[in-house]
Each structure stands twice: as structure tokens, then as C-alpha cells.
């Protein structure tokens, strides 16, 4: 019997935002939940994140924004994903945003949005239930 492949996730910051504590915690807790996590860290570009997603053959891209840059970078990442045929990957956004921007980001192409105060289980369950594993 073939073993089910572990869910593979990229967690990344984008642009200059240095608030990386949340992203690191999420990366650690997803690992504990049995996923394989590639933590890209800070100063990433949309192109770099998508390239890493291809190289690492991930199922999920998770990006953390805490500096009000979410409406600038979300469409850029989605566009880059489409350009590379990664539309089937799950794109999850985390960080600090006003509730008004959640639906905006979803319209832009984010699959789900998690803010501060979210419990780890809600994120883990969301990924497990929605990941579109092709393997």
C-alpha cells in the first residue's frame, strides 16, 4: 500500500515586513500537526514564493502580512500563481487586517484568511479539508 504523502506547505513573509513571529509559530505548529513545512522567511517576492512553491512541490502557500501590505501583494501572488499554473494550490493568508479586507482578499484569489486570535486547530483542519492533493 502506498503511504499517503504528507501535506507540504510553504510559509513566507513578503516585501519588507519584518513581523515574523506569527509566521514562525504557524510553521512550527503545522509541523507538529504532521505537515512538511518550508519556511521561506522575510524579504520574499511574489515571484520568489511561487518559484519556491514549484521547486518544493507544495500543496499550500501561506503568506503572513502584518504591515498593511496585504492588498498590494495578494493580487501579485495570485497572478504569479496563475502564470505558473499553480491555481490548484491552496493559498492561505494570515496576519492583521480589518474585517472589511477579508472578502476583498478572497475576491482577489486568497482561499482563506486567518487573523490573530485564531486557534491552530482551525487552520490545521481548514488545510486538511481543503487541500487539493494531486498525488
Amino acid at each position: 500500500m502506498r503511504m499517503a504523502r504528507k501535506i507540504r506547505v510553504i510559509i513566507s513573509k513578503v516585501g519588507l515586513d519584518g513581523h515574523d513571529r506569527g509566521a514562525k509559530v504557524v510553521a512550527a505548529l503545522l509541523r507538529e500537526a504532521g505537515m512538511e513545512v518550508v519556511y521561506l522567511g522575510m524579504y520574499q517576492t511574489p515571484e520568489g514564493i511561487v518559484q519556491a512553491a514549484i521547486d518544493e512541490d507544495v500543496d499550500v502557500i501561506g503568506v503572513s502580512y502584518l504591515s498593511g501590505e496585504h492588498l498590494i501583494y495578494t493580487p501579485k501572488i495570485v497572478e504569479e500563481m496563475k502564470r505558473n499554473g499553480l491555481d490548484d494550490l491552496l493559498f492561505v493568508v494570515g496576519g492583521s487586517f480589518p474585517p472589511e479586507d477579508i472578502s476583498v482578499m478572497k475576491k482577489m484569489g486568497a482561499d482563506e484568511v486567518f487573523r490573530g486570535g485564531s486557534l491552530t486547530d482551525s487552520l490545521v483542519n481548514y488545510i486538511r479539508e481543503n487541500v487539493r492533493q494531486m498525488h
Binding site: 513573509k13 516585501g15 519588507l16 515586513d17 519584518g18 513581523h19 515574523d20 513571529r21 514562525k24 509559530v25 512550527a28 505548529l29 522575510m42 524579504y43 504591515s67 498593511g68 501590505e69 498590494i72 501583494y73 492583521s96 487586517f97 480589518p98 474585517p99 472589511e100 479586507d101 487573523r115 490573530g116 486570535g117 485564531s118 486557534l119 491552530t120 486547530d121
Partner: protein, 566 residues
């Protein structure tokens, strides 16, 4: 059901479905664990027995007297309320000036401006990486022109201005502030205020690649030395324990790590030949006030006592002002959540009250909307009103250290001190704070604690209303409106710096830059040359890039652009 109202079917169904069994259980609820936020197990009651070994004069003392456990002034708030100083920083210098003026108009009493990410990294707004993020997290400043707009009509000789900036950028900020003050004809010897200038702490806010440690400490110490000699009323380092706490660490860790970092600067200044009493009175701290009310008060009291003893016993300070732990409080941003956001107003009130009962010198209350966006005008106003209600209505300001002598608070103060000293000893055994940083021991501590905090919320060990208890359907809008950064502000900043770079006197500028490069290369204090270069319209990135190059680093922290002066 209301009188005279016809019962409708839906209402009756909902009553049938109501889960009264569950509702009524709450009547018997009680605190689930007798532990403080930082994990100290506390007793049911504290009595005189817990204080049997206390020596009041030695360990506590009146407010205004060594070891200052009860406050640094004998009359505390009867002499003057704390400074009500809300952090402001949005978009362009003009946007920020406007909001700062609004805060004054509404009764704020101190200025507190924070720079944006691009500035804090030492990038001009026309840098390819900066363009998307100009002004998003604070005010964008690239030249003396921007400083001029930020200051506007503010009388610099009469206000107290706190400049929040980062890492290597602090040297540029100080130079730009001095340059504008001199340009406007002020004697810098009378300027009052503070600059964050805590080059180490920013490594832990995720700015590592932009600030090599040796250069950060060198420039930070340049600021301290320059101010010691030229700006006697200026507080030239604010050791930012607050940002450390925001990483998820405990109250005693906040004090221990903060003091460890302060000691790095003290030792560098002593190496430069300054005397402890010459500079220690100008050290200030930025402290968090988290949600555990008594623990935070105990932490502040413990920090005061520890600082007094550290200065006297380890560094041989003689001047009592060197032994006084002066601090501002930032209520804990990380205690706020975006769910049920108006609850944040209540959290902030408790945290502000703890700060005041702890004897704070200057206070920033978070805005309730901080887990969602930068403070909106109404968010700022509410934060300020919170401070004003504590000051003018509650009556807690009449008496110095009103909780002093409480069996519990005194015992908890001892407990926090004991634990913080234990951690400081551990750091000493590693080889001191610089070594703890170099070996990433400190990184490991932050990592471990942050994960622990999230797990505590995940498994319900720590309860947060709206997150893991008393949750409700998510809000769909921000109650007092969302603060957006005007798009044209970023555009103006980018165009402004481009225009500036084309319109300067090139010879004057390159002379000033050469002077700065020489001073940096030869290890002299860089601030005078930075002031001169700022007056010749050098930009933030040019000041810092020139110094970086002199120290053998790339001109551009992100290594994307070349120096225009090569």
C-alpha cells in the same frame, strides 16, 4: 418576551432549542488555574507571614528613595501626571503632523512619532523594494525637507518629542532632528525628548539583514555619546523591552533580556571613557503592560529595584538619578485580537491602569483597532480618552504606589525579581548578552516562548474572550472605521525624493558625504558629519549607506542599488 407582543413561532422554537443546562453551569465557574500570566503559582491569600523577612528601608523604601521600588519621585503624580503620548505615524510627514496635532488638540501632552519600515531599514522611498510600502507602518522620512514638514509649526523648544526609529536608522534620525532644529534656530542644548536608539532590539523584530550588529552598536553609541556632550536634556536611548515582550516572552524575561541589552550599551560607553553618572541618568526604557494586572505592576516595581541596585552595585553609580528606572509604557499590542474588537478598549483600560499604578512616566495606550490596521483618528482619540479617564476621574493618582505594602503585590514583586535575576545570571554564564545574541541563544528563547503562548491559547490554559471563550460570529466591519494610507502620500514621497536628488548642490553634498565617510572610516563619532550632510540634503539611505560602506558592508542593505557617490 415583551408585554403585548404576539409570540411568533420562530421565538418559541428558539426557546425549545436553548441549552439551559449549559448556560446554568457558568454560574459555578471559577478561575481554572492559580497561575499568573507568566506562570507563577500564587497562593489563596497572602498574609503578614509572607512578609516576615522584609526590610522596608532596604528592600522597598519610600517613593523617591533608593531602591525606588515605590517610584522615582517622592510626590509621583501630585508633581505632574505622566506624559500622555500616543504613538503616531502614517503616510507622509504632513499626514503624520496632522494626526499629531490632532492628538495635542485633544489633550495629548507628548509627541511620539514612529517611522515606516522603509525608513527603519535605511531605504529611501524611491528604492525598488520600498515603493510598495512607503508610509504603511509609520511616517516616511528621507531628508531634511521631510523633517521640516513633520515638525511644521511645532515649537521644538517647548515640546517633548519621542522619536521611535530602528536600529542603524537611529543615527540618521538624530542627525535629521538636530539638523532641522538648528535650521530653525533652536539651541539643541535645550531640546527635550527621547530617541529609541536601541540597536540590538530590532534584530528581534525581524530586521536582521539590514543591520549588522557591530555597526548598529557603533552608531547607537555615537548617538549616546553625541547627546551626552551636546544635548543634556535629551534621553538618548530607550531600551525597548516592550518589543521583546511582544515576541511572547514572560514578565521576568522581559526585564532580564531588556537589562541585558542595556548593559551592552553601558559597557560600550564605559569603554569610550564616559563615566556611569554622566550617561546613566539619560537611559530610559519602554515597557509592556500586559493583561495580568498585578503581575505587570509587580514587574515594574521589581524592575525599579533591580535597576537601582545594578547601577549602584555593579557599575558604582553615585548619582541617584543614575539609579532611577525611568520608563514609558506601551500597552500590550499582542494582548489585543481582531475578534469582538471593542473588547480591546476594556483590555487597554486595565493595562493602562496597571501602568499608572506602577508609576509610569509616559504612556501610549494602544488603539483598539491595532490588530486590524494603523490607529484610525477615532481609535487614537479613544486611546487618549482612556488615559484621561484614568488621570482625571479615577482618583488613582493621589497617592504614590498605592499597592505598596500589599502582602500579595510585595510578594509577587519579589518573585518577579528573583526569576529575572536568575535569567540574568544564566545570560552571564553564557558569556553576556552579546554572546547570547551571537550564538542565537536569545532567538531560541523567543521561539520557544512564542510557541508556548499559542499552545496555551489553543488548549485553553490561557483564556482570551472572543478567541477561545465566549466566541461569536465574526464581525464584518470595523466599528470606528478603517485607517487607510492615502495612496497619493506614497507617490508624493517617491516623487519628492527623486526631485530632491536632482536639485541639490552636488559639490556641497559630495564634500559632506566624503567627510562622513572619513569620520566613519577612522572610527570618529559620525553624528556631526551626518548633521552636516543632512543640511546638504543627503537622504536617509545616503547617510546610512555611506557609513555601511565605510564598515565594509554593501551600500544598500538589500544589495540592489549602488552608491551614487562611488
Amino acid at each position: 418576551m415583551l408585554m403585548g407582543k404576539k409570540p411568533d413561532k420562530r421565538e418559541i422554537v428558539s426557546y425549545e432549542e436553548a441549552n439551559w443546562e449549559d448556560y446554568l453551569k457558568a454560574y459555578y465557574d471559577k478561575p481554572q488555574s492559580p497561575r499568573t500570566w507568566s506562570g507563577f503559582e500564587v497562593k489563596e491569600i497572602y498574609t503578614p507571614e509572607d512578609r516576615a523577612n522584609e526590610d522596608y528601608e532596604q528592600d522597598i523604601g519610600d517613593a523617591g528613595k533608593f531602591p525606588f521600588t515605590r517610584g522615582i519621585h517622592s510626590d509621583m503624580f501630585r508633581g505632574r501626571y505622566w506624559t500622555r503620548r500616543e504613538v503616531v505615524g502614517i503616510g507622509s510627514p504632513a499626514d503624520t503632523h496632522k494626526r499629531a496635532a490632532f492628538c495635542f488638540e485633544q489633550g495629548g501632552t507628548g509627541l511620539n512619532t514612529i517611522a515606516d519600515i522603509t525608513y527603519e531599514m535605511g531605504l529611501d522611498p524611491d528604492h525598488p523594494w520600498a515603493q510598495n510600502e512607503v508610509g504603511l507602518t509609520g511616517v516616511n522620512i528621507s531628508s531634511i525637507r521631510d523633517m521640516e514638514k513633520l515638525v511644521g509649526d511645532i515649537p521644538l523648544d517647548r515640546v517633548s518629542w519621542s522619536l521611535i526609529t530602528a536600529s542603524t536608522a537611529a543615527a540618521a534620525t538624530m542627525a535629521q532632528y538636530v539638523a532641522i532644529a538648528q535650521h530653525k534656530g533652536y539651541d539643541i542644548g535645550i531640546l527635550r525628548g527621547s530617541i529609541q536608539n536601541d540597536p540590538i532590539h530590532f534584530r528581534y523584530c525581524g530586521f536582521r539583514p539590514a543591520c549588522p550588529l557591530d555597526l548598529s552598536i557603533k552608531l547607537g553609541s555615537d548617538v549616546m555619546e553625541f547627546c551626552t556632550r551636546n544635548m543634556p536634556r535629551w534621553y538618548y536611548t530607550t531600551v525597548n523591552m516592550y518589543d521583546l515582550r511582544e515576541q511572547g516572552i514572560t514578565a521576568p524575561q522581559e526585564v532580564a533580556f531588556g537589562f541585558g541589552i542595556a548593559m551592552c550599551y553601558i559597557e560600550e560607553l564605559l569603554r569610550r571613557g564616559l563615566r556611569i553618572d554622566e550617561f546613566a541618568p539619560r537611559f530610559t526604557f519602554y515597557v509592556s503592560c500586559h493583561i495580568d494586572f498585578f503581575e505587570e505592576i509587580a514587574k515594574i516595581r521589581a524592575a525599579r529595584r533591580m535597576w537601582a541596585r545594578l547601577m549602584r552595585d555593579k557599575y558604582g553609580a553615585k548619582d541617584p538619578r543614575s539609579m532611577q528606572f525611568r520608563f514609558a509604557v506601551h500597552t500590550a499590542g499582542c494582548s489585543l485580537i481582531p475578534q469582538q474588537p471593542l473588547n480591546n478598549l476594556v483590555r487597554i483600560s486595565f493595562e493602562a491602569l496597571a501602568a499608572v499604578l506602577g508609576g509610569v512616566q509616559s504612556l501610549h495606550c494602544c488603539s483598539y483597532d491595532e490588530p486590524m490596521c494603523l490607529p484610525s483618528e477615532r481609535g487614537h482619540l479613544q486611546a487618549l480618552r482612556t488615559q484621561q479617564i484614568v488621570a482625571y476621574e479615577t482618583g488613582v493618582t493621589h497617592v504614590a504606589d498605592p499597592l505598596g505594602g500589599s502582602y500579595y503585590v510585595e510578594s509577587l514583586t519579589d518573585k518577579v525579581e528573583e526569576e529575572a535575576l536568575k535569567i540574568m545570571k544564566q545570560v552571564e554564564e553564557i558569556g553576556g548578552m552579546e554572546e547570547a545574541i551571537r550564538t542565537e541563544w536569545l532567538d531560541g528563547q523567543f521561539e520557544r516562548e512564542a510557541i508556548k503562548r499559542q499552545k496555551e491559547i489553543d488548549n485553553g490554559d490561557k483564556l482570551v474572550v472572543g478567541a477561545n471563550i465566549f466566541t461569536s460570529e465574526p464581525d464584518t466591519s470595523t466599528p470606528l472605521g478603517v485607517q487607510r494610507i492615502p495612496k497619493q502620500s506614497a507617490r508624493q514621497q517617491i516623487q519628492g525624493v527623486r526631485r530632491l536628488k536632482k536639485s541639490r548642490d552636488v559639490r556641497k553634498l559630495s564634500d559632506a558625504i566624503n567627510h562622513l565617510r572619513d569620520d566613519a572610516t577612522e572610527g570618529r563619532n559620525t553624528i556631526p558629519a551626518m548633521i552636516e550632510a543632512t543640511k546638504a540634503f543627503a537622504t536617509t539611505a545616503e547617510l546610512l549607506g555611506t557609513v555601511r560602506q565605510a564598515y565594509g558592508y554593501s551600500y544598500d542593505p538589500l544589495n540592489v542599488i549602488e552608491s551614487p557617490f562611488n
